[in-house]
Symmetry: C2
Subunit: 338 residues, 2 copies
């Protein structure tokens, strides 16, 4: 089992509109809802790859109820197709207890809080293809809820996951050193841990010595003060990470480990929607970590999954045939000192 | 009791962002949720004026649950202030059964359907002050649900409301002649009925001879093919309405009845947010209709409530001191033939 943590989980709404014009009124042509937040996206990709995955983090309110119902519906996809109301169908599906499909199911170990799970709204402009993102703030987490979560997290570690991913921003009220605490707990349990966050939570998390961090170019520059990727990755490594996997957008990924450094990319630049490409890269690294693959193979998986996500017609989903096609074509090279 | 009908009710979300830029990602600074759709807005204003009001229309899904909880919280405002999660507080309030405050409560007689109540998202740009509106489509209503609603509507008419307002757009699946049917049912019960809709539902509704229709300048021009307001209002009257109250934005209102025609406006043009001004005008007309006031007094109320809504710091709410101040200053004049 792989465990992903999403402290600031979200209900992601996607609105398709003919053309977004500020100050105008728009009829939304199509609405889709799905569980969101980095760790939940990572779990969805891992599930599609056939890995048993458990998700945790905070959930609450009516939006949290819909999020959990959608997670349950993903676990029982046949039941979800028969009803008009996704959430109601999902609740039916959860009640029937069936799990189906070729993909592995995602187990809900989310921690219930009093606040309301945030929504994010992605407005897709059908004329330009651009997405405008509106992200609600997360629920306020009390000190008692954080303590309760920590106890529940230790119980999840006792189940012996093969790897853990700690993902995304912190909701209000959670201590800024939260990820550092979770990294230490996980390493004490001798379970490999990946950290994907930014800013001060990343800075503090690095000092707790995670096995991998996966910043993007902007995040790593912000932390290290260095824009040159290899130099920045080595600087992040010196701050505590055993390995640093930096995602560089269309330029692929750069990986710095104690065994050496590699860069990897697909042979040609791909047009498409980069939403979720970073989360797919985390899923690739994590699956390779869980299976104890050599570093270059983990990197190849991460890059191929990212590319298959950019090329997918559905934002944030990865296209499986593209992944199968991409994986052997990823070029992994030793990275030279700059 | 006054009855308002909102067939396409909504959960209205307001997002405040520092500045809305298409294709960018935005942190929402503040989120507010409230029951929405024209008839629910009208009921809120009537309640604030001290009129007992009952609301009906379609409601369903998780968003419908939140909408009903918020309606219940409005009925018990003290309980709603004590909890972090509005919807949860609302449910507590509904459970406690208390009703409070100086305003009259709004009674929930919404009709439950299988589909999900739509959301609307108003994105307020704090730099420009403009609002960008995103309106989800409504739930699909089945023929059985429409029949069920009609039966429930007849039961509400049996309670003998003083007046009825039929408000807003039709959700998918509802017959385009729905408002014509409801107007006929209401007139058969000898209850005064106001219709506030647009397009084909308004065209068909007119033929059923409602007591008042309240189109805006654009809606009445679309129906009658005439841009000149007095000419257009008389044309709409010939199509069946006993009285036509046309809202003309900053130019106030024009009223054409069988007893004569009047126009009314506040003495000076007001800066502010026009959201909900039309719904406040309906509340003004309806309260005057319920109390059988002379036409010029109904019109003055409608214009003063509209103005107090434009001037309110909260979009869609009316400012009570402004209303008290405005009411005696509204200038009502006999309208001349153009």
């Amino acid at each position: 089992m792989i465990l992903t943590v999403t402290l600031n989980a979200a209900l992601d709404l996607t609105y398709r509109v003919p053309h977004l014009v500020p100050h105008a009124s728009h009829r939304v042509r199509e609405v889709t809802e799905r569980p969101g937040g980095k760790g939940l996206n990572v779990a969805r990709v891992l599930g599609a790859l056939g890995f048993k995955t458990t998700v945790t983090g905070f959930v609450g309110g009516e939006t949290g109820r819909v999020l959990r119902a959608l997670l349950a519906a993903d676990a029982a996809p046949d039941a979800a197709d028969t009803s008009q109301d996704t959430a109601d169908a999902a609740q039916d599906a959860a009640g029937s207890g069936t799990a189906g499909g070729a993909t592995a199911s995602v187990t809900d170990a989310l921690f219930q809080v009093a606040g309301r799970t945030r929504r994010t709204v992605g407005v897709v402009d059908e004329t330009t293809g651009d997405t405008t993102q509106l992200n609600e703030p997360g629920p306020h987490i009390t000190p008692e809820e954080w303590d309760g979560f920590l106890a529940a997290y230790r119980d999840l570690l006792d189940q012996g996951p093969d790897a853990v991913a700690l993902c995304g921003s912190l909701p209000p009220g959670v201590p800024v050193g939260a990820y550092a605490t979770l990294v230490r707990e996980t390493r004490t349990a001798r379970i490999p841990v990946l950290l994907d966050t930014s800013g001060e939570p990343l800075r503090r998390g690095l000092a707790a010595r995670p096995d991998i961090v996966k910043p993007n170019a902007e995040e790593i520059a912000q932390i290290t003060g260095t824009a040159e990727p290899l130099r920045a990755a080595r600087a992040a490594q010196r701050r505590g990470a055993h390995a640093v996997a930096a995602s560089l957008g269309a330029d692929g990924m750069l990986l710095v480990t104690q065994d050496g450094a590699w860069s990897a990319a697909v042979p040609e630049r791909l047009a498409g929607n980069p939403t979720g490409a970073g989360d797919s890269a985390v899923a690739g690294l994590l699956s390779g970590l869980a299976e104890d693959l050599p570093w270059p193979d983990r990197l190849a998986r991460a890059v191929a999954l990212s590319a298959a996500t950019v090329r997918s017609p559905v934002a944030g989903e990865f296209d499986e045939p593209t992944y199968e096609l991409m994986l052997p074509s990823v070029r992994v090279r030793r990275a030279e000192a700059p």
